[in-house]
């Protein structure tokens, strides 16, 4: 099966895709973007969070064939011009990374949250990140990073959209 999809602005045409292949495996093994992590494969952990046509999803629960003609944005696609995205910078500055495995998914979710709600209260951040598990118990610094990104975004425009 062939899949045509735009990933991070680049058009891909991939042949020999398995009908039951997940978008997660497709991104990691066919497109070579390994920032999106494979942890639970059942939508519990959020490590594989990406945008499909501007909507935040778990890529492990989307079949690759379902994104035919769609635009996918992964953690690698958030920054621009060789620079990390301000949300990523905030995670670096806040030290909101321990083992780092959950971080790409958390960053995509945080990016989605801040694109829709530039100044969320802590309860909203907790709710919106509830689909992302960190097993190093590093949530406090993650919350700090999101506040930091929100505070900085008061001055800067976020790039990329989140439709939901």
């Amino acid at each position: 099966m062939r899949v045509n999809v735009t990933v991070n602005g680049v058009a891909h045409r991939v042949d020999h895709v398995w009908a039951l292949e997940s978008l997660l495996d497709f991104l990691r093994e066919r497109v070579g973007l390994r920032g999106t992590k494979n942890a639970c494969e059942q939508g519990e952990c959020g490590s594989c969070s990406v945008y499909v046509d501007g909507v935040l999803v778990c890529s492990c629960l989307v079949a690759a064939g379902q994104v035919e003609g769609c635009s996918v944005v992964t953690v690698e696609g958030l920054g621009s011009g060789g620079e990390v995205h301000p949300v990523q910078q905030a995670f670096l500055d806040a030290g909101a990374v321990q083992c780092g495995f959950c971080t790409p998914g958390v960053i995509v979710s945080a990016h989605c949250l801040l694109a829709r709600n530039p100044d969320p209260d802590e309860l909203t951040v907790r709710e919106e990140l509830s689909g992302n598990l960190c097993r190093c118990t590093g949530y406090q610094k993650i919350l700090h990073a999101v506040s930091l990104a929100a505070a900085r975004a008061g001055d800067a425009t976020m790039t990329g959209g989140c439709e939901r």
């Binding site: 099966m1 020999h16 895709v17 398995w18 009908a19 039951l20 997940s22 494969e41 059942q42 939508g43 519990e44 959020g46 969070s49 909507v55 935040l56 999803v57 778990c58 492990c60 629960l61 989307v62 079949a63 064939g65 379902q66 035919e68 979710s109 989605c112 709710e127 919106e128 509830s130 689909g131 992302n132 598990l133 939901r164």
Partner: protein, 295 residues
């Protein structure tokens, strides 16, 4: 691995129904939040997928019967139920808020919940309480399945092998509705047990639904009858319908359940929790009813 089937992507509902009959080996998929878990863990190996996400119009909802019924297309995700239907379908929106996580709510649908037919499906108690109906369509035609006839066993529904769920019809609320769910944490939780209550003020009826406490979602008929008798001529101002009625109601809800011990909870705990959820939901709904009457 390669070449084993394909992803069928009809652009119209007519084509989807036709493909369903022509490709019995294909599993329907929309949000994928149930099916892909089974695929990823090797529990499902469908010969092909019938992807409904490209079907025109499937992701819209509309009012019918002069606004008395909400028809929710099979592709409407839970996030949109929360954002757009909290007015007409308050308990369904409440239940939708408890589904998985933001990522799951962006993909999962009420129709998919029904197709999986898990006893723990979050929308099921609400659909029972609201007397919802399921539009099932095949090349043989469209039929409406009453929600009371839909669930026939654990993860088994009345859908025929060649049928697709096109939409779900939910009567718009005419009075207070409540949904409550118990689980070990606030997010990403499959219900240990859940309960929905619908006070249909216009129809002078009480609707209930129990989740995760039986082989299928269940209706608490005894509790409904008791409440209708207790409200009798007081639907527009339930003064005097108090704590003792709520207690009895909760007890009858627990009595209607048929729970088992499993990894999410014991039968005894589920029964206890249902008595509490039943009592609480009725207390909240009666407070809403009084507030509406006073307004």
């Amino acid at each position: 691995m390669q070449g084993s089937g394909s992803v069928l992507r009809p652009a119209s509902w007519g084509d989807a129904v036709l493909l369903r009959s022509q490709h019995p080996e294909a599993s329907p998929i929309c949000g994928g939040t149930d099916l892909m878990v089974d695929v990823n863990f090797g529990r499902a190996r469908p010969g092909a997928l019938l992807d409904l996400t490209a079907v025109a119009g499937i992701d819209s909802w509309e009012l019918m019967d002069g606004g008395r019924t909400v028809r929710i297309g099979a592709g409407v995700c839970f996030a949109r139920v929360i954002d757009e239907l909290a007015g007409q379908c308050p308990a369904l929106a409440q239940a939708a808020r408890t589904v998985g996580s933001p990522q799951i709510r962006n993909r999962g649908t009420v129709a998919g919940n029904l197709a999986t037919a898990s006893p723990a499906g979050d929308s099921h108690p609400v659909l029972l309480a609201c007397w919802g109906r399921v539009e099932a369509e095949s090349v043989r035609g469209l039929r409406l399945i009453d929600i009371d006839d839909f669930f026939v066993g654990p993860k088994r529904s009345a859908l025929e092998p060649d049928e697709l769920i096109r939409a779900v019809r939910v009567p718009a609320a005419t009075g207070p509705q409540q949904f409550a769910k118990v689980g070990p944490r606030n997010a990403m939780v499959i219900a240990t047990t859940s309960f929905a209550l619908n006070l249909d003020v216009a129809g002078r009826r009480a609707g209930t639904g129990i989740g995760s406490a039986g082989p299928t979602p269940l209706r608490a008929r005894g509790a409904e009858q008791m409440l209708e008798e207790a409200l009798a001529d007081r639907w527009d101002g339930p003064r005097g319908v108090g704590e003792s009625v709520a207690q009895e109601f909760g007890a009858l809800v627990a009595e209607a359940a048929s729970p088992i011990d499993d990894v999410r909870g014991s039968a005894a705990y589920r029964r206890h929790a249902l008595a509490v959820l039943g009592r609480r939901c009725l207390s909240w709904a009666l407070a809403d009813l009084e507030a509406a009457g006073a307004a």
